[in-house]
């Protein structure tokens, strides 16, 4: 993929665009999950719609999977290229003197999020596919909420969930504002954009954590 996009700025823009796309998806996902806190009915309706709508299933879902895979694969390729660009390593490199830890370690936060995706696919996506296409159950529009509660029973899973979302917050803390800079936006609105993106980086992962804890504590 690194060869496909030849220039470093094009790769940078591709990372920013796929990042923006994932940020929007995250906000959407968070909103849908949040409905489960208020009403099992609304959550079921949303999930039923998303799970059965042809456009969502046949078009949006593959685009989403592509976006995720692209962002990860490109991120890893960039990291490998960047490491090679140093050549001989420094005996002493004081990265903390001039850049934040999160900005220098997007690979670490990214890798944890990737591991979380593995868990998430195992937890939700694969059972969903099995349920629908392998076991071919008839669609029951009320099944989603109980399934959600069931997933949030295990405290180990909750722990992994919380850790992953803390790392996601760190990834967004640098990544969201950074994507604007990559797209060439650096002007009088930049301080505002930075504040907004940092607030987003805290609020959205915190909301995911809240939803998980809420159901864990109330669900049974």
């Amino acid at each position: 993929m690194g060869g496909l996009i030849k220039s470093s700025i094009a790769r940078k823009v591709a990372m920013a665009l796929s990042g923006f796309f994932l940020v929007f998806f995250l906000l959407f996902h968070c909103t849908v999950n949040m409905t489960s806190v208020f009403s099992a009915d609304i959550y079921n309706q949303f999930s039923h719609f998303l799970g059965t709508n042809f456009v969502v299933q046949a078009l949006m879902q593959p685009i989403l999977v592509f976006g995720i895979v692209f962002h990860f694969v490109m991120g890893f390729i960039l990291e490998i290229q960047n490491r090679r660009s140093r050549g001989v390593k420094y005996v002493q490199y004081k990265g903390s003197a001039n850049a934040s830890w999160v900005s220098r370690n997007m690979l670490i936060s990214g890798a944890v999020i990737l591991a979380f995706f593995g868990l998430h696919f195992y937890d939700f996506f694969i059972p969903e596919l099995v349920h629908k296409y392998v076991e071919s159950h008839p669609e029951d529009p009320t099944r989603y909420f109980p399934e959600l509660l069931h997933k949030f029973e295990n405290p180990v899973r909750i722990g992994l969930y919380v850790v992953s979302f803390v790392l996601l917050a760190m990834h967004l803390w640098h990544g969201f504002a950074s994507a604007f800079q990559s797209m060439g936006v650096n002007n009088k609105y930049t301080p505002g954009i930075k504040k907004f993106s940092k607030a987003f980086a805290l609020v959205v992962p915190a909301a995911f954590i809240f939803i998980a804890l809420f159901h864990h504590l109330n669900g049974h």
Binding site: S7, S8, I9, N82, Y90, Q92, A97, R104, V185
Partner: protein
């Protein structure tokens, strides 16, 4: 003051280098970092040893020749100064100071602390200029009115001395700050417009060919740049590059 210097010694481009420790006495706080190295070299020459090679020229922060990674930071711990302007009063008696060459695949070591930064020259040659007709009817640049804040921005970008500290500081060894300063100083002015699209495309292509890394917006370059070149220039170059490619 008394110092313990750990310096990268490398015989030539092909040899494998290593860190060598040199104790040094009689260093004064008012000396510059390079004067301190001069004293070390005098000692070494007197002892019949090879002096430590390092780059320098103007010694007043304007030529961009001096370099050095000092205690893990390019141009040392001070801000907005080059190594030649760094004073020894920034260090304490008994300190150990680690001195290494700037590290990047595109900046190969020639000897000891001297690196080959001609990759920067090639980026500049790829487009960092304006073609002016000198056949006798040249228009005086001052005849074109330019808004003060625009002229100031162009001037700020033009203060880049091409030292390479941005590359040395960047965890990705990216040369985006340097290249963007050189793109910006022209992109902002009417004289630079004619060749703007070609310039940015050619300079970025050359930058990539030289093997510099990809920018991930950590901002380390801006912090370490002795001339305070701003990240705004990188965003401007991204815009210039995108619009040049969209327009074809």
């Amino acid at each position: 003051m008394k110092l313990n210097l750990k310096i990268w010694r490398q015989k030539d481009a092909k040899s494998k280098g290593q860190m060598i420790t040199y104790p040094l006495n009689g260093v004064d706080g008012d000396m510059s970092f390079l004067e301190m190295l001069d004293i070390l070299n005098e000692d070494l020459v007197n002892k019949g040893e090879e002096p430590v090679e390092f780059d320098h020229d103007c010694r007043e922060g304007i030529c961009g020749t001096c370099s050095l990674q000092i205690n893990g930071e390019p141009h040392g711990p001070d801000r907005l100064v080059t190594t030649c302007q760094l004073h020894m009063r920034k260090f304490n008696d008994g300190d150990t100071i680690i001195i290494e060459p700037f590290r990047a695949k595109a900046f190969p070591v020639i000897k000891d602390l001297v690196v080959d930064r001609s990759s920067f020259d090639r980026i500049q040659q790829a487009g960092g200029f304006i073609s002016v007709n000198t056949s006798g009817n040249t228009v005086d640049a001052n005849a074109i009115p330019i808004e003060k804040h625009v002229a100031d921005k162009a001037m700020d970008a033009a203060t880049c001395i091409g030292c390479g500290a941005c590359v040395a500081a960047c965890k990705n060894a990216s040369a985006m700050l340097f290249t963007s300063a050189k793109v910006s100083q022209f992109a902002l002015l009417p004289q630079g417009q004619v060749e703007a699209a070609d310039r940015v495309q050619h300079m970025v292509r050359q930058m990539d060919l030289e093997g510099f890394g990809n920018c991930t917006n950590t901002g380390a370059c801006e912090v370490e740049c002795p001339k305070g070149i701003s990240l705004e220039n990188i965003a401007r170059m991204n815009r210039e590059y995108l619009s040049a490619n969209i327009k074809g």
